[in-house]
């Protein structure tokens, strides 16, 4: 507090008041104020609290130290130690009962003037006030005053008194005879009374720590040390004391006082304050000069009795209550782990040190944590959109909605999954088409493509090598000039079916597909598919329809207009404009349409590598217009891309093969969605993929999740579903027989 640095003290009993002292004493009242509005004259200390200045006392100049009277009444009585060694009792003028009237203004004057370093009220006999002074020759440095003693009217002092405090109306209140005088020929830097006996006083002297026993003042226990500043007793373990020297804190056990039981790591800057937390065991706060950090030492267990050499577990923490340097801090006497800090320019903040929080997730997406002695449970509330939900929540909800279990209308599973994920939609449609085709084959009992279907388009295309016929046609649909080569084969039309462009059977009619797209309002895609089937008129018609539909985009008419200008002429202005302007189109399908119209025959990169066009449309397009060699290369490349990205649209290409498992592996790595992985792999007819260790591992993990969620019925359904599709699966994981035995035992015992 020397100089202008403010210090801060909480009222010991009126827990909503504290004093900031620098050159004067300012009493503040702290109150909770939740609203963001500040009352006039109050200061914001934290989000929840504000402080109001109640009174200022500037009667006592040259303050060196302040101590608050420890009893409840009188309320605002403070002892101030001055630079000349005098101790003055003063008040912040809240209540003036008779007792405080007698005391206020009383002065306790040492024989020789020197700085008063520290003050300590005896916690039990509150009339006793100990003062620690600098050294003056052979004089005593620890004086214990009795504040109730009548003033001593020694003439010499009386005259001096008159001289010193001229103008004081209560000039008679000077005490010069201390109750006890201790620490002869020494200096005293810090003091505290020991709670184990009211007659024991611990003092940080010049080069030692000393315990004075007032019952026998001729003797003292002492230990030589440099750590003599800021002696303070742990309020929870009365034998534990902290003191400091420069950047070092020493922890002492009074039962073995020879040396510190612990020395806390040295700080680069000198310490200014060390204080035990009054509301929590073993928490020591320290502050160094020019720092905005309060360091906390958490001594996490009861000190063991003498003889046990184990060191306490100490956890070091640091907290930063504010941006500025901290001048001082004070723990709140009762509020848990709370303190107020004050900066050199007297801004204050109210701050609570949180305990180490331990936490745990429950399997049902709630988070429990413990902070101090309290438990908090945190649950997810409100409607987050499906996309924002975590996969754990999604899988739980999907399990409840019987996701994956619709084996008839396989495509419907994507609705059960929430109808929000385009990749899942693509996956379940693919699996649906695969199933449909297989059933078709079974009925007709013709062909040998059955097993091939589940192997994906990549395998289908490979098997089609050499069976392809060419068909030349014009883009405009007219037969004026045949400049487009289309490729046809049984396998390619199978691929188109899996892509969903055509229905089963061999007629290559895309009309049903176009109408379904129109129904969904997917105009651009419908137009593109029409165009890729070389029906430019139909494409324009779709676009017109789109433009005129309810919330249609009028620009579609413009697109139709542009389409209508199509010409085969290679060097036409139309072609030039379209190939440059198409890149500015926002819609990938529109972009792809013009790419197709302006491309050279056989090189369709603008369509094939337009990543925003669905994989199934690009693959279908490739199956129509790429030669066998080109097609193979393209499919190979796309498959690898899909595998790399774990994109479920790629299952169309890989089918349920090892490639498909690879793809699914990167999907699971990316999302953790073992549910989709398990159900997808269980869709195929009995096949090798189920023997893959990875697939078995996903299934195991999914069953484990269902177990953890206690979805016993869902797990049973899943197992039934699984045994249907994978007859090789073991009859359900019976638990270890010994455990069954245990279970039975437990049952019978109860």
């Amino acid at each position: 507090m020397s100089g202008s640095k403010p210090d801060i003290l909480w009222a010991p009993h009126h827990v909503d008041r504290f004093v900031v002292c620098d050159s004067e004493l300012s009493l503040y009242h702290i109150e909770s104020a939740v609203s963001s509005e500040l009352k006039a004259g109050s200061l914001r200390l934290s989000e929840e609290t504000t402080a109001t200045l109640l009174s200022i006392n500037s009667d006592t100049p040259y303050m060196k130290c302040v101590a608050w009277y420890p009893k409840y009444d009188p309320e605002c009585l403070l002892a101030v130690g001055q630079a000349n060694g005098r101790v003055v009792l003063t008040s912040l003028g809240q209540d003036h009962n008779s007792k405080s009237k007698d005391l206020i203004g009383k002065e306790f004057v040492p024989k020789h003037a020197r700085q008063c370093n520290t003050l300590a009220w005896n916690p039990l006999d509150s009339n006793w006030l100990a003062a620690g002074l600098d050294k003056h020759r052979a004089d005593f440095s620890v004086l214990i005053w009795d504040i109730s003693s009548k003033y001593a009217l020694e003439t010499a002092v009386a005259t001096e008194k008159v001289r010193l405090s001229a103008g004081d109306p209560e000039a008679g209140l000077v005490v010069t005879k201390p109750l006890y005088e201790l620490g002869q020929n020494d200096a005293c830097l810090s003091l505290c009374w020991l709670p184990r006996d009211q007659k024991l006083l611990l003092a940080g002297m010049h080069r030692n720590l000393a315990i004075f026993d007032l019952r026998n003042t001729s003797q003292k226990i002492f230990v030589n040390t440099k750590a003599v500043q800021g002696v303070t007793v742990d309020p929870y373990f009365h034998d534990r004391v902290a003191s400091f020297y420069e950047g070092q804190v020493a922890i002492w056990d009074l039962r073995k006082f020879e040396k510190p039981v612990l020395t806390l790591t040295e700080q680069p800057k000198p310490l200014t304050k060390v204080a035990w937390c009054p509301t929590r065991t073993g928490l020591l706060a320290t502050l160094t000069r020019d720092s905005n950090i309060i360091r906390l030492y958490d001594m996490q267990h009861t000190p063991t009795p003498i003889g046990d050499e184990t060191e306490p577990t100490i956890i070091e923490r640091s907290v930063q209550p504010c941006e500025n340097y901290i001048a001082s801090f004070a723990w709140h006497p009762t509020s848990q782990n709370r303190m107020v800090v004050v900066t050199p320019n007297r801004t204050m903040s109210d701050f609570t040190v949180f305990e180490r929080i331990s936490l745990a997730w429950s399997p049902v997406t709630s988070l429990m944590w413990a902070c101090g002695r309290h438990l908090y449970e945190c649950t997810e509330e409100g409607k987050a959109s499906y996309l924002e939900k975590d996969i754990a929540t999604k899988m739980r909800l999907r399990a409840l909605s019987r996701y994956g279990l619709d084996t008839e209308q396989v495509w419907r599973n994507h609705l059960l999954a929430g109808n929000e994920d385009p990749q899942l939609k693509s996956l379940w449609y693919t699996l649906h088409f695969m199933k449909q085709y297989t059933e078709d084959m079974d009925q007709k009992l013709t062909g040998n493509k059955g097993p091939l279907v589940y192997a994906g388009i990549k395998s289908i295309v490979k098997s089609s090598l050499g069976t392809t016929e060419n068909l030349r046609q014009s883009r405009s649909g007219s037969d004026r000039q045949a400049d487009i080569i289309q490729y046809l084969s049984e396998e390619r039309s199978l691929a188109l079916q899996l892509c969903g462009w055509i229905k089963k059977g061999t007629d290559l009619d895309v009309e049903p597909f176009l109408s379904s797209l129109e129904q969904e309002g997917d105009w651009e895609r419908a137009a593109a598919v029409a165009l890729f089937n070389l029906d430019i008129r139909r494409a324009m018609q779709i676009l017109n329809k789109g433009a005129s539909s309810g919330k249609g985009d009028l620009n579609l008419n413009v697109v139709a207009m542009a389409l209508s200008g199509y010409t085969d002429e290679k060097s036409s202005l139309w072609r030039e404009m379209c190939s440059t302007l198409r890149l500015q189109l926002n819609n990938a399908y529109l972009c792809a349409m013009f790419a197709f119209l302006t491309s050279e025959s056989g090189s369709y990169d603008g369509v094939l590598y337009e990543n925003n066009v669905a994989v199934r449309d690009r693959v279908a397009f490739a199956c129509k217009f790429l030669s066998d060699a080109q097609l193979n290369r393209f499919i190979e490349k796309l498959t690898n891309e899909m595998k790399e990205a774990g994109n479920l649209e790629g299952i169309l290409l890989t089918g349920l093969t090892k490639d498909g498992v690879d793809l699914m592996e990167s999907y699971v790595d990316r999302t953790g969605d073992v549910q989709t992985a398990s159900y997808c792999m269980l869709q195929g007819s009995p096949s090798d993929v189920l023997k893959d260790e990875r697939v078995q591992y996903w299934i195991e993990n999914y069953r484990n999740l269902l177990d953890a969620w206690r979805f016993w019925h869902k797990r049973a359904e899943f197992d039934i579903h699984r045994s249907k599709l994978d007859p090789s699966s073991k009859p359900l994981a019976q638990e270890d027989p010994s455990l069954m035995k245990k279970w039975i035992l437990a049952k019978t015992r109860s």
Binding site: I357, W361, Y376, T671, Y702
Partner: protein, 419 residues
Amino acid sequence: MFVARSIAADHRDLIHDVSFDFHGRRMATCSSDQSVKVWDKSENGDWHCTASWKTHSGSVWRVTWAHPEFGQVLASCSFDRTAAVWEEIVGESNDKLRGQSHWVKRTTLVDSRTSVTDVKFAPKHIGLMLATCSADGVVRIYEAPDVMNLSQWSLQHEISCKLSCSCISWNPSSSRAHSPMIAVGSDDNSPNILAKVQIYEYSENTRKYAKAEALMTVTDPVHDIAFAPNLGRSFHILAVATKDVRIFTLKPLRKELTSSGGLTKFEIHIAAQFDNHNSQVWRVSWNITGTVLASSGDDGCVRLWKANYMDNWKCTGILKGNGSPVNGSSQQGIFNASLGSANTSLQNSLNGSSAGRYFFPPLDSPRAGSRWSSHAQLLPPPPLIEHSCDADTANLLYPHPRRRCVSRPLNLLPENEGV
């Protein structure tokens, strides 16, 4: 959006650990008051303490559940240098009537010479095994050869880690491709550059655990460590609580590429590193799918981390330790999933090479550590938490009976499946 409510815990001292059983229907807490409490979830979602007993003669650091297949079994570890295994006894009618259950000590594991800092049951597919670690740097793995007899545990392995151990985590993967594996963290804070996370793997050849990896980049004291539930992934994810939150991925290299010793080699990447807690990070915990990580730190906050589809991890939620929302942020909600938030700001990329860029929602003020740093722009707190929750003033003087502060009725997820 996540909402917190407080539960009267009734521990007389600091709670050090919270642990859920396999189903999340039971919970155990342990404390410096030397006791363990068991909590059961009622049908309406409330937690009731059904057992509370003194377990040790020192602070109890950790408590953990065995898989329910082994019965209702808990393990605890303490400053008193021991770990203990507890089993619930069914059929004690007197206790049952009072809604209390009875737990008996099945064994005390006394091998450690120093404080036992962590205890964890092995994943169930390995068997009924228990790992402990202690301040003297030894990891011990015990096995109950007969699952029917929980009082018999044999010390199978003793791994000397050379550094004071603070935490352990089993790799939960049950894939046959992955050998049993355990990660150990050290809180040794002497100024050295030794790796504070070591990973030990069981080798079938030698029938011993041997060091497979050491995370050389982690040199600061480690307070907690957690493998994510594997959930069928081809790699492992490990979260480390040190001076910051770190997330590592460990991809096993294919066996034929590994050296002859039989130990798996890993390709280790640091997937994320966040210093938003501004100081020491104390705990990390994964959700059931290993997709959301919760961390707690010295700033007194709980934060949630989640990866987007591009594998960029970011903070998706933050809540103060007393359950109240963090103010001064533009977001009304707390723990508000803010994927793809329009006004994300780019913050320092800590490990640009492997982890890519980190996007933070605006609620992460760069001064998150100083809680009152921005008085000027305070918003009224969202009306989620009753303010009595943190009004713990005078708690010591006037201990009040159990009190719970529920801010709002909770929408429980439907979980009335089965019995």
